[in-house]
């Protein structure tokens, strides 16, 4: 039951506080060396002072594992720091080194007669937490971008008075099909169009899922009184659709967008000739 073997959090806090200056110095040097040019020494210094204060506070309140409530503040600070770094484009290594460099400062304390293993273990946990929050922040950024891309990649364009078109490019998954349908239906109402053309020239493969989404979009447009044409069906896609056994029923399809536009224009003109507004 030697005291050295079971260093209490308070003892660790005392040791750490007593050597704070030296620990900070070594820590800052190690981190600054790695992050040279990415962040200034002053910024690092401020960041590390904050982390060390929170760490000391936590230890004084009896915390020894990172999950302890005593370290709430410390966890918050770390989450902020690594999220900021993720947004600034730091690599995972550059983010974690700021924490792991603290160990460089701690090793010399081992000679002070106190077992600092719990402290080193705590730093490891801190490092893992930075990784975790870093990855979470990156994932949030990616999700954000995917959503923006979804919006970007599905324009609804007006081709003529009363005729709108959706040129689809790339993979048509459920999320994208939903966006396409919503945008198309809204544009039909906003522009008072009676003809919609969905062009799939840019869709590399039409499988049953894509076909199902297309069919649903066409049916929805029809329910709103618009005539819907699917254009851009290339020869290889046509053969694949037939082999798969997908039935497009009475949905009008055309080989090219130009053909579909001519069709729609004819229908509009025919309507005008019998005295109806276009």
């Amino acid at each position: 039951m030697a005291d050295v073997a079971t260093a209490a959090p308070e003892t660790l806090a005392q040791t750490l506080a007593a050597h704070a200056e030296r620990v900070r110095g070594v820590w800052l040097d190690a981190a600054a060396r790695e992050l040279h040019g990415r962040t200034s020494r002053g910024e690092l210094d401020r960041e590390q002072a904050e982390i060390l204060d929170a760490l000391l506070d936590g230890l004084r309140s009896g915390g020894i594992a990172l999950a302890d409530p005593a370290f709430d503040q410390l966890r918050g600070i770390l989450a902020d720091v690594s999220a900021t770094r993720a947004r600034l484009g730091f690599t995972p290594r550059e983010t974690a080194i700021g924490i792991f460099a603290l160990k460089e400062g701690l090793y010399p304390l081992a000679s002070a007669g106190v077992d600092i293993t719990p402290l080193l273990r705590l730093v490891d946990q801190l490092g893992l937490l930075t990784f975790e929050t870093f990855a979470a922040a990156r994932e949030a950024i990616i999700a954000e971008q995917a959503e923006q891309l979804l919006e970007l990649s599905t324009p609804v364009v007006k081709l003529w008075e009363g005729i709108v078109a959706v040129p689809l490019v790339g993979t048509l998954d459920s999320a994208r099909a939903q966006v396409v349908m919503e945008k198309l239906l809204n544009t039909l109402v906003d522009t008072g169009s009676e003809h919609a053309i969905i062009d799939i020239t840019g869709v590399p493969a039409v499988d049953t899922q894509v076909a199902q989404h297309l069919l649903k979009t066409v049916v929805a447009a029809r329910l709103m009184g618009a005539e819907c044409t699917i254009s851009g069906i290339r020869p290889q896609i046509a053969q694949t659709i037939v082999a798969l056994g997908i039935e497009f029923g009475d949905i009008r399809t055309r080989a090219t967008l130009a053909d579909a536009l001519v069709d729609a224009l004819r229908a509009t003109r025919a309507a005008r000739q019998v005295g109806l507004p276009a």
Partner: protein, 137 residues
């Protein structure tokens, strides 16, 4: 079917984006194997269907795709494996328009018509393994 073959590419199928990955890999290999544009598109579409089945009905699994050489012919072989519930009634599952989910019910039966070689190995509770291949003409 046994012939000198090239390295097998493994793609885990866990999410929707993995289905896209499988599709891109199969397309790249189909181009390498010099399949005609129609055969390429058919094979890619079949791979897309089967990969999605692995994900949706098999609860995720693995795809193995490889460039295959048989004498003068080159082709692409793909295997889709999952440890899901398996297919209790294979004849029913291969019937056009029948689905246990919410799709069109053409994925499995249609895929069979899209490729030159199609083999399925399944049993209730033992997962499903589908192998497809298409060769240059």
């Amino acid at each position: 079917m046994s012939a000198p073959t090239t390295t097998v590419e493994h793609v885990p199928i866990r999410t929707d984006s993995d289905v896209v990955k499988v599709r891109q890999l199969v397309r790249a290999l189909a181009q390498q194997a010099r399949l005609s544009l129609v055969d390429q598109t058919k094979l890619v579409t079949a791979a897309s269907e089967l990969a999605r089945n692995t994900l949706v009905y098999g609860g995720g699994g693995d795809a193995e795709v490889q460039l295959a050489v048989d004498g003068v012919r080159t082709g692409v072989r793909a295997v889709f494996k999952d440890d899901g519930p398996g297919i209790p009634d294979l004849d029913l599952a291969l019937t056009d328009g029948w689905t246990s989910g919410s799709g069109l019910g053409l994925g499995l039966s249609g895929s069979r018509r899209l490729v030159q070689h199609f083999a399925i190995d399944t049993a209730p509770g033992a997962g499903t393994r589908v192998e497809i291949a298409t060769w240059s003409r």
